[in-house]
Symmetry: C2
Subunit: 144 residues, 2 copies
Amino acid sequence: MSANSRLTIAAHALAWIGLYQRQGHEVATSEQIATSANTNPVVIRRLLGELRRAGLVESRRGVGAGWSLARELESMTLLDVYEAVEPGPLFAMHRTTPDQGCVVGYGIQPAMQSIYEGIEETLRHELARVTLENVLRDVLAAPR
Amino acid sequence: MSANSRLTIAAHALAWIGLYQRQGHEVATSEQIATSANTNPVVIRRLLGELRRAGLVESRRGVGAGWSLARELESMTLLDVYEAVEPGPLFAMHRTTPDQGCVVGYGIQPAMQSIYEGIEETLRHELARVTLENVLRDVLAAPR
DNA sequence: GGCAGTCGCAACTCTAATTGTTACGACAGG
DNA sequence: CCTGTCGTAACAATTAGAGTTGCGACTGCC
């Protein structure tokens, strides 16, 4: 599983913007964030675009353009970020419909679906317990 | 996320073998299971091979060959299956190392790592609560 | 009004993982 | 020896994500 660093990069970007603003700057550019995350500015803009749609950040255009937080880091959780950047469910069903003439083939999808839903609900709960403020604090607490 | 139906297919196969054995048969072939799951027998053999390494199933070769359960369905949980068939962690880090000269780039990976570990631990707990016997019961309970 | 810096977005390539397919040797019972 | 099935390797097909390039849109400043 998981060739999927979207949540990590999104948290990185938010922590970076938050810290930068606390240092007195108004906006951060996708270029600066991309340098810190060691990736391409367009990748950052795409992710931040999804976060903007979710109401977590804002962007300005024109000269002195860039990104800023739409809310305090304390009020954002990893669940907000997860829902903004992760499209699909955690576990997938069969990619082709199983044999509906077989008892197992017929019943397996509803069975797994409801099991998976319960698990994803628990995952959401866990993600909701971590705020981006927590993340930034942990980041700054790393020993040098 | 998730172009990943391995856990689903593995659970399907185990439920199928379990039910087939309860109907009095000794072994199930990868061909039969593949028909029920609507996929290729080699895909099933590969998955069951991983489950065999984990001690969940056994295989016979020669004439009358096939697969059978190594333990009762009640004693297998989705966690056993998950660990047998899913290689990596749920969430990935950056694919390239972030800028170690930046405070955020330096601290983000340990921070996210420890958060993710806690979340995966919770996920494991949830998966361990569901036995394959539960799955088979749910499968058979599907309304026709 | 023109210039410069940055976002917005589309289109494309590159890479990696999973799945599907084909092929063939190994094995065991009749 | 023949047959059916596993074991496994090799390769193609599919998909998702990440990376790149290009260019129009926007806005503050000169």
